[in-house]
Structure formats: structure tokens, C-alpha cells
């Protein structure tokens, strides 16, 4: 089958590229038209100068960071422990990590509101702090599949069990093993999972709205109802942010443990493992 110029493929790629790029271009163009008769960045200025924008964005950023921290503290030791000592529990742990993919966020938050509502033994929704915690918990659950997979893949790539045995057989303590061998090796996997968590929770709407939190997602929806040009500016900013987060995520997810940024590990390991 010798073919000349790939007409069909070219056509498909052209249509797909148009579908992907036209909305981006249109949104950008639209966002510049706030001032009648001229192209300006007025909509961006309007968005960035708004106190609500700053407040809700920082609220969501803090909630996202908290979710990343909490998620990492929950997932990293568990993934390590399961690989090292609890292989039998692996199917159960993996299954639980995938469950959030089949529980729609709206169902999850419904359950939370009912279970942790006013009449429950753990009435989290009664206080503002409690509701904040519930939101963070929700984000940890939503990002669990991605966080667990990223960290677990990172550990699979370096055969954590053998490394631990090797380090211990050479006399390193468990703590020293974790700090000097395991953590540097999975650091980039954790960071990759963190970027995914961040991109999921920063603009999240359903949980934040139903828990009545002053978060970025509900703010955006409100802005969409009130204004015409600012939402377009927000969409462009948000797309740019997603782009940056995903590029960083891919950068970390595909990086090998001893590649760049971690120059100390390579020498540390060879020193440790050389008899």
C-alpha cells in the first residue's frame, strides 16, 4: 500500500485543529472587546482588580494546597507500606483509590452534607472551619485516583521493596531509608500528583457551591451571570493556568528520579549501594 500525499489525514487534523483553536481564539478576541470600538485588556484589568477575584482565588488556592498536603500525607506512606509490607491489601487499596471515579462529586457532597450535618455525631457543617475541612476532605477524595496512581507508578519505577531491603541490609535505619532513599526517588511523582490535584480543585464548583464556601468556582459562575467580557478573560487565564499546570505535571511525571533537580541522589545511591 504505497500512498502519496495523505489527504484524509490532513483533512482530519485540519478540522480537529480548527475545533480546538477557534474557541480559544474567539474567546481571546471576545475578551479584548470590553471597551466599545477598540481592543483592550480592560476585561483582564477589571477581573484582576476585583477584590472578590483575589479573595476567592486565594481561598481556593489555600484549600487546594491543604488538599495536596493532606493527600500526600495520606497516600505516600500508604502506597509505600502496601508495596513493602502489605501486598495482600493491594487490591483493596487500589480499588478504594479508584472509587471516586464512579462516585459523581454531587453524590459525594450530598453524602457528606447528610452525614456531617447538624444532627450527626460529627457536625462538621455547623462551623465555618468544619465546612472548610469538609471541602478539603472532598478535594482529597476527588484527587485520590490521580494522586495514588502517580505515587504508586513512581514507586513501581524504582522497585521500592528491593531498595528498602538493600538499604536496610547495609545498616540504614527505617527512618534514614525513607528520608534518604525513598522520598528523593518518589518526590517528582508526588509533585506530579500535586499538580493534578491543584488543577482539579482550584476551579472546582460543585463541592464549593453546595458547601457554601467563598471559593473560586462559585465566583466564576456568579461572574458569568453578571458580566459579559470578564468571563472570557477568566477563561483565557484559566486555560493558561491549566496549560502551565499540565506541562509541569508531565515534566515531573516523566522525569527519572536521578535526572536534574536531584543531583545528590545519584551519588548518594552509588555510595550507599557500593559494597
Amino acid at each position: 500500500m504505497k500512498h502519496g500525499f495523505p489527504i484524509a489525514s490532513t483533512l482530519i487534523v485540519f478540522v480537529a485543529a480548527a475545533y480546538f483553536l477557534v474557541p480559544l481564539y474567539a474567546t481571546f478576541q471576545f475578551s479584548l472587546q470590553m471597551k466599545r470600538g477598540e481592543l483592550s485588556l480592560a476585561s483582564y484589568a477589571s477581573v484582576l482588580a476585583s477584590a472578590d477575584f483575589i479573595n476567592t482565588l486565594s481561598y481556593s488556592a489555600i484549600a487546594s494546597f491543604a488538599a495536596i498536603l493532606f493527600g500526600a500525607i495520606l497516600v505516600v506512606p500508604t502506597a509505600y507500606w502496601v508495596r513493602l509490607k502489605l501486598q495482600k491489601l493491594r487490591p483493596a487499596v487500589e480499588f478504594l483509590s479508584l472509587l471516586p471515579l464512579i462516585i459523581p462529586p454531587v453524590v459525594l457532597v450530598f453524602g457528606h452534607i447528610r452525614l456531617f450535618g447538624s444532627s450527626s455525631i460529627l457536625p462538621l457543617t455547623m462551623t465555618s472551619t468544619g465546612t472548610d475541612i469538609l471541602l478539603i476532605v472532598g478535594y482529597v477524595v476527588l484527587s485520590l485516583p490521580y494522586m495514588f496512581r502517580a505515587v504508586d507508578n513512581g514507586m513501581a519505577a524504582i522497585d521500592i521493596a528491593t531498595l528498602t531491603e538493600a538499604a536496610e541490609s547495609l545498616g540504614a535505619s527505617r527512618l534514614r531509608t525513607i528520608v534518604e532513599i525513598i522520598f528523593p526517588n518518589v518526590r517528582s511523582a508526588i509533585v506530579a500528583g500535586a499538580f493534578l490535584t491543584f488543577s482539579i480543585s482550584l476551579g472546582e464548583f460543585v463541592l464549593a457551591s453546595l458547601l457554601n464556601r467563598p471559593a473560586f468556582g462559585p465566583y466564576m459562575v456568579q461572574l458569568g451571570e453578571d458580566r459579559a467580557y470578564e468571563p472570557a478573560a477568566l477563561a483565557i487565564l484559566s486555560f493558561a493556568l491549566t496549560w502551565i499546570l499540565m506541562l509541569l505535571m508531565q515534566l515531573f511525571a516523566t522525569r527519572k528520579p536521578n535526572q536534574r533537580l536531584l543531583p545528590r541522589f545519584g551519588t548518594g545511591q552509588s555510595r550507599k549501594l557500593a559494597p
Binding site: A16, Y19, V140, A235
Partner: protein, 305 residues
């Protein structure tokens, strides 16, 4: 290398037995290590969902009943399920076919490889670009005052909205969903398309098959389980979508997640247990499509070896 480290580790351990006290300490630690994870997932995932499921089978007095599930078939609720299913089906079907064509074009279409790299990278971003900002982008593009709407009207004389199209409709939503469905399809179907071995095509050729015969008899049948599996993944992906719908249509477009959202906000059904039943129904549909996805993926992997 690994084997070497392992044998070194074993050798050392054989020569240097671990004290019994140490072993005892490790056993108890092992179990402690798993407790936080199981406690967290149980408390914040299993129990809340179980709470809803149990409530779905109870009346407001707490007695067992099927009435809530039967009420799911009442005209309003059945209509919203039917709308959700049709919308998810349409957006998943379009996404599947378009994504498959795109995967074929960039992987084996004879185009320069930087194009494939560009589409893959873009898809990694676009499949995560959902929710509210996506709705804004499409409003700016195809809304009543959207740029494309205006250009079509002024330059080509095509008045989209006069011809019955509106972004805030079934097909408008389907077209918007496609923006994350198509990239997702490209990403998940790529391994399967790459798994089509060149030898299969060559074997078919040497047996006298032309291009169409190869695709009909070998290429497409081999891809079918993967394609169906990816379709189900896209279906589930669309079924749970809520933020995009709200940002596009307010709460007027009553797909199931919107109905449930409204119910949580203000008990619009006047029966909390009916809300539980709606949640139960959503999870059942998600479980079905994801289970079927896993089954089909296992079948595809068996073929791919």
C-alpha cells in the same frame, strides 16, 4: 542490576539474622500503616455513600420501601435520566468517532511526528480544561454574541440562532462536551492504535488483502473492544458533568446532576429519600459503564498480548 541488589540484600540477611523483637515490632507497624487510609476512605467515602444508598430504600419514617426507586420512573425524573443518558451517549459517540479518526491521522496517517506530539500535549491540557471556564469559552465563541456566531452572520450570511441552533441546548452542550471528550479519547485510544502491529497489515497484504479488507477484517475488529471501552469511559465522563452545564444554562437544563444539585440546595422534590434514590441511580449507571469498560479493556489487552 535489580537482581544483583536483591541477591546482595538476601546474602547479607542470611548471614545476619534479624532479632525476634524486631520482627514483632514490624508486624504491628504494618497494620498501623494501613489504618489511616482505610479510616479516611471509609469515613469520607464509603459511609456517606452507604448512607445515601440505605436512605434510597427507606421512606421518611425510616421504614424499608421500594417506593423511591419506583418514583425514579415518574415522568419528571425519568425524563431527566433519559436526557442525561442521551446527552452522554451523543457526546461520547461523537467524541469516540472523532477521537479515533484523529488518533489514526496523527499516529499512522503519514503526517510529520511533531503534529502528533502537539496534539498529544494539547490533549493533556484540554482534557483537563472543563467546568466553568470551558462554558465561558464556548459562550464567547458560539453564544448569541459569540465571535463565530457573529462572523457566520456578517461574513457568510448564516444566522445560526435564526436557524434554530442555540448553545444552550442539547446539541450545544454536546458540542461543548466534545472539547474535553475528544482529547480524552485521543489519549486513551492511542495505546490501542499503536498496538496495531505493522506485521498484521503486511500479513494481510501478502495474503492478497487490499487496504479496505485489512481494516474491515483485522484493524477495526482488533480495535473494537478498546473503542467500546473508551466510549463507556467518555459516557461516564459526560454523565457526571455538572459545572459546565450550570455555567452554560443556569439550572434550566435538567440533566440528572442538575436535578440532584437543586434537590440538595432546596429539597425541591419535597422528599429527601427520593434525592437519595436519584444519587443511587447515578452511581449504578457509573458502576455499570465503568465495569463494562474494565471488562472490555481486559479483553483488548488479552489480544494485544
Amino acid at each position: 542490576m535489580t537482581a544483583m541488589i536483591e541477591s546482595v540484600a538476601n546474602d547479607v540477611r542470611v548471614g545476619q539474622p534479624i532479632p525476634t523483637r524486631n520482627i514483632a515490632a514490624r508486624v504491628s507497624w504494618s497494620w498501623l500503616g494501613a489504618i489511616p487510609y482505610f479510616a479516611f476512605t471509609t469515613l469520607f467515602m464509603l459511609i456517606p455513600v452507604a448512607y445515601l444508598f440505605i436512605g434510597a430504600f427507606q421512606n421518611q419514617q425510616g421504614e424499608f420501601t421500594f417506593a423511591n426507586l419506583i418514583d425514579l420512573t415518574s415522568p419528571n425524573i425519568a425524563a431527566s435520566y433519559w436526557l442525561s443518558i442521551r446527552l452522554s451517549f451523543a457526546s461520547a459517540a461523537i467524541g469516540t468517532i472523532a477521537g479515533l479518526l484523529l488518533a489514526y491521522a496523527v499516529i499512522m496517517g503519514g503526517l510529520p511526528s511533531w503534529l502528533r506530539h502537539a496534539f498529544t500535549t494539547f490533549s493533556g491540557v484540554a482534557s483537563n480544561f472543563a467546568g466553568v471556564p470551558l462554558a465561558f469559552a464556548f459562550i464567547a465563541t458560539l453564544g448569541r454574541l459569540g465571535l463565530v456566531t457573529i462572523i457566520l452572520k456578517q461574513v457568510f450570511g448564516i444566522d445560526l440562532y435564526a436557524s434554530g441552533f442555540t448553545l444552550y441546548s442539547f446539541w450545544g452542550l454536546a458540542l461543548t462536551y466534545l472539547y474535553f471528550q475528544l482529547p480524552l479519547m485521543l489519549l486513551v485510544i492511542t495505546p490501542a492504535v499503536e498496538g496495531l502491529k505493522p506485521e498484521w497489515r503486511e500479513a494481510a497484504q501478502s495474503l492478497g488483502a487490499n487496504r479496505a479488507q485489512y481494516w474491515l477484517e483485522v484493524g477495526l475488529p482488533v480495535l473494537t473492544p478498546s473503542v467500546l471501552g473508551c466510549f463507556l469511559l467518555l459516557f461516564a465522563n459526560a454523565f457526571g458533568t455538572l459545572a459546565t452545564v450550570i455555567a452554560l444554562t443556569g439550572s434550566n437544563f435538567s440533566v440528572v446532576p442538575i436535578v440532584l444539585f437543586q434537590q440538595i440546595r432546596g429539597n425541591v422534590l419535597y422528599n429527601p429519600n427520593l434525592g437519595y434514590a436519584i444519587a443511587f441511580g447515578m452511581v449504578v449507571i457509573m458502576v455499570l459503564s465503568n465495569t463494562l469498560y474494565l471488562v472490555l479493556r481486559a479483553r483488548a489487552e488479552r489480544w494485544q498480548k
